[in-house]
């Protein structure tokens, strides 16, 4: 499948004719992200890659990426979820009510909120999966319902401040166990260990491929890819380490990205979601319980939207009635920029993550440049359109 995927999270699947396009596409996506970064690095006089800004970039976009993981599954399954911004906002409000007004301790509050997200996802997924109500309509309704509930819950005011312990989720950093080096040593060590693991696993897979007698990519390409991707990862780690180190939320995000990349590529349930999105009738006749699977993708989406809501609230330190407003559009855009098909059955976790990163860097870069918010929207809209046009055009060729 994808080169990026193989370099970062998983043993690669054989590179043969089918994957040529996927490779090209993923390569194009990474290249676009790098070009966009370089462009803004230049136009912002180097502000983009300052450690402080890089950290902010992560903090600002983590909730979009986390929701994009769930949205990817929903879209691959052939559906859409318009309610995630409102659900995230509602859960943020709920968490604030619980912790600030009702005095619930942080951890139980978080657990209840995540469960609540799952329940909301189930409530919407139930109609989509078992009653075949179009997801667009169900989640459009959900979008209105939960935005309304949130405002009712907050009484149209902000509630805060949230407990400092809770704020650590979005504004905290991992502790440095090895102080005194001038940089955040733990961050560097984690970065090195992670890159080492990925390189080791892709090398092991390469060897296994050769032992089994399958072709693999030329060694030079394999090495170059690992060195470049590993190098970039280490460099970003270094930049973060010179500031406060790895944000907590980045750890949460990275674990989830790894988990979802694994689930989509290597597990039965992941494969079944793709099969269902590709041809639901055929999947059903192959013994797949498509309704239950659809239901579960919505439950999953609900939990991730809840997590995103907690992250937003934690970052803002209060619950505000505007939290998560319009986030669903950023999330959906990220998934489509990342190469998912609106028809279902096609899309990659890493594509969605890079798609979200592209949108996030553009937001950040354009803000630093002082581009008016109105024009930022115009530019983002056009990027979304052309990313998909590019995709469709290439597929038809």
């Amino acid at each position: 499948m994808s080169d990026i995927a193989s370099a970062e999270t998983k043993p690669a699947q054989p590179k043969q004719s089918l994957s040529a396009y996927a490779n090209f596409r993923d390569f194009g996506l990474v290249a676009a992200l790098i070009l966009i970064m370089l462009f803004f690095q230049y136009t912002t006089d180097g502000t983009l890659f300052r450690p402080l800004n890089l950290t902010n970039l992560v903090l600002q976009n983590s909730y979009i990426i986390i929701m994009a993981l769930g949205m990817l599954l929903v879209i691959v399954a052939g559906h859409i979820d318009l309610s995630v911004g409102s659900v995230a906002g509602f859960i943020g409000a709920l968490s604030a009510m619980m912790m600030v007004q009702w005095g619930v301790p942080v951890v139980p509050a978080i657990i209840v909120c995540l469960i609540m997200g799952g329940v909301i996802g189930a409530a919407q997924g139930y109609w989509v999966a078992y009653h075949k109500i179009p997801s667009f309509i169900v989640t459009l309704a959900g979008m209105l319902v939960f935005r309304g509930l949130m405002q009712a819950l907050l009484g149209n005011r902000s509630i805060g401040p949230l407990p400092p312990q809770f704020q650590l989720l979005s504004n905290g950093f991992i502790p440095d166990f090895f102080p005194g080096y001038g940089i955040h040593m733990t961050t560097m060590l984690i970065g090195i260990a992670l890159v080492g693991c990925v390189v080791w696993s892709s090398a092991r897979n390469r060897i296994k491929r050769e032992q089994n007698g399958y072709d693999s990519e030329p060694f030079a390409l394999f090495a170059a890819k690992n060195i470049i991707m590993g190098g970039i990862a280490l460099w970003l780690c270094y930049l973060l380490a010179t500031y406060k180190g790895l944000p907590n939320v980045l750890i949460v995000m990275a674990v989830l990205i790894g988990l979802f990349a694994f689930v989509t590529k290597h597990t039965i349930i992941g494969r079944r979601i793709y099969a269902m999105g590709g041809n639901e009738k055929a999947a059903k006749l192959s013994g797949i319980r498509t309704d239950r699977l659809t239901f579960l993708t919505f439950v999953n989406m609900g939990v991730l939207a809840a997590l995103a809501g907690l992250i937003i609230a934690s970052r803002l330190t209060t619950a505000t009635p505007k939290a998560g407003l319009g986030a669903e559009l950023d999330v959906i855009a990220a998934v489509f920029v990342g190469g998912a098909s609106a028809m279902g059955g096609v899309g990659q976790v890493l594509g969605a993550v890079i798609g979200a990163a592209i949108m996030g860097v553009m937001n950040n870069g354009m803000s630093i440049m002082g581009i008016n918010v109105d024009w930022q929207q115009v530019i983002k809209g056009l990027v979304l359109l052309f990313a998909v046009v590019f995709d469709v055009y290439n597929k038809n060729k």
């Binding site: 043993p11 699947q13 054989p14 043969q16 004719s17 089918l18 994957s19 296994k208 089994n212 399958y214 290597h266 597990t267 039965i268 349930i269 494969r271 079944r272 793709y274 099969a275 590709g278 041809n279 009738k281 055929a282 999947a283 059903k284 006749l285 192959s286 013994g287 797949i288 319980r289 059955g345 096609v346």
Partner: protein, 514 residues
């Protein structure tokens, strides 16, 4: 030949060749149609009939094929279907192209609205609709929705639509495939009437008796080439069949010595009601059995309920209020969901592989393992290498022609797609394999290979239940044949004692009784 030279030729297609990736669909095909004749084009599935008609109508535009199209004495270079329609060449496809929830009038003038400055004049439209309906012998209200008409009438609406475009050359692709005898006759009558009015027709059909009834000449295609054009006087079943098949019928089916064992699969008192009209009984108490190593066929006309029966047995994939019992090796098994049916050793390979069989946007490997992912995984995690090995093994075994297992199934030919579907079910390891139209739309060579796979499975002691509308196929590969009509089994015979006539007689006798 000598006759048509003197006749006025409306259409000549000269040396048409057309390739798709990996397949040469048409190879120097020639077709000449005289003005005012009914010209039949016959050939097996995959012989290239539909491709030829798509070239003619501009679906495949000029430049995408080689050769010349001469129409009314001038060479034509159609860029699209609009170009050919402008000259009065109208094609009616096998799948009807009507919008079900629009009225007759709306459908008739769709794309050709009776409008001035973009505003539709419904009075004129309805008046013209009545005239057109009269021409095709229908007496319906123009406001009737298409969905409320039967298939036969829908077919007539398609023809009326062609008439509204001032048709000169009407192309009908298997127009009677889904019609009953009465509707078919009406349609053929209409063609003769058109002929009297000077409209030429090209009739593509499998039904040789119909072709013989109305055609002035017949062009036979085989494997993408023209075999010959027969004059009316020369037309006979044998001539056509020999031309179509190109060899003796006997070697179309691989030889096999059946090794039939004990009773493997049994269905008792199976009753199914219609999915959409729960008061209509579709399957009216069926009892049948398949023994180990036996290939059993179910013959019947379209609409006899064979697919409905098979799908209802396979995890209740069709119908409601299903009752009856299923036994495997004499033990009653639960087939209430597809996964239970598969676990219990039943597999069903669909008649419609594109809609129900394959994930067309994914590659061979993922399709082959889909029904048995547990077979290539540990604790829910798929083992890439095990999966690749399985896919490669089945690709070799069923002789799927592709560069590797990473080819997307949507780009494979019908025969190879069918082999992917078969591979999927073979990997699921069934005891009983139900094959619904296993060779529909597949060329002769691939058919042979599929029969070989079927024989191999039977020799391994599996039970095979084959549903097919091609009677020679059932006679060629089965050990025993059931005849189904209107949801009932109306006959059972060893294949050695069966013949097409006997099966047809059984069906007709049953119709008389019901």
């Amino acid at each position: 030949m000598r006759v048509w030279v003197r006749m006025d030729t409306i259409l000549e297609m000269r040396n048409i060749s057309k390739s798709f990736p990996g397949v040469k669909a048409l190879d120097n095909v020639n077709l000449a149609v005289a003005r005012g004749e009914i010209h039949a084009v016959v050939g097996e599935n995959g012989a290239g009939k539909s491709t030829l008609m798509k070239v003619l109508s501009g679906v495949y535009p000029h430049g995408s094929y080689e050769g010349q199209i001469v129409y009314n004495g001038e060479e034509q270079r159609f860029r699209g279907i609009q170009d050919s329609e402008r000259l009065g060449i109208i094609i009616i496809h096998q799948e009807l192209a009507l919008v079900p929830l629009l009225s007759i009038t709306e459908n008739l003038f769709l794309g050709n609205e009776q409008a001035k400055y973009g505003i539709i004049d419904w009075h004129v439209a309805e008046k013209r609709t009545r005239e057109l309906l009269k021409k095709v012998g229908l007496n319906e209200d123009p406001q009737t929705l298409i969905t409320n008409l039967g298939v036969g009438k829908q077919q007539m609406i398609e023809i009326a639509k062609a008439l509204s475009k001032e048709v000169k050359l009407l192309i009908l692709d298997e127009p009677t495939a889904s019609l009953n005898e009465k509707d078919s006759d009406a349609l053929l009558e209409l063609l003769l009437e058109f002929k009297a009015q000077g409209i030429s027709s090209i009739l593509i059909s499998h039904k040789l008796n119909e072709v013989e009834k109305v055609a002035d000449r017949i062009t036979v295609l085989r494997d993408g080439t023209t075999v010959e054009t027969l004059e009316k006087d020369d037309i006979s079943d044998e001539r056509i069949v020999t031309a179509m098949v190109g060899r003796e019928l006997s070697d179309r089916y691989p030889k096999r010595t059946p090794k039939i064992g004990e009773n493997l699969f049994e269905v008792k008192d199976w009753v199914v009601y219609n999915q959409h009209h729960p008061d209509r009984q579709m399957i009216k108490g069926i009892n049948l059995n398949v023994r180990a190593g036996e290939i059993v066929g179910i013959a019947g006309l379209m609409g006899a309920g064979r697919t409905e029966f098979a799908m209802s047995v396979f995890g209740k994939s069709y119908g409601r209020k299903i009752s009856g019992e299923v036994f495997l090796h004499g033990r009653k098994v639960d087939v209430s969901t597809v996964s239970k049916a598969v676990q219990n050793g039943i597999a069903y390979a669909t008649e419609d592989r594109k809609t129900y069989g394959l994930n067309l946007i994914d590659h061979i490997k993922h399709n082959v393992t889909l029904a048995n992912l547990k077979g290539v995984s540990n604790g829910g995690v798929i083992d890439d290498f095990a999966e690749l090995k399985v896919a490669n093994d089945y690709r070799n075994m069923t002789k799927i022609r592709s560069s590797n297992v990473y080819q997307v199934t949507g780009n494979l030919s019908g025969g190879n797609q069918q082999k992917v579907v078969l591979s999927k079910w073979l990997f699921a390891g069934p005891e009983l394999l139900i094959l619904d139209e296993p060779t529909r739309g597949i060329d002769v060579g691939a058919k042979y290979e599929i029969y070989e796979i079927i024989n191999k499975l039977a020799n391994e002691g599996k039970g095979i239940l084959v549903i097919s509308s091609e009677m020679p196929e059932l006679l060629g590969i089965c050990d025993r044949i059931y005849v189904m009509n209107e949801g009932r089994l109306v006959g059972e015979m060893p294949a050695s004692e069966a013949s097409q006539e006997k099966i047809m007689r059984t069906i007709i006798r049953a119709e008389g009784r019901v």
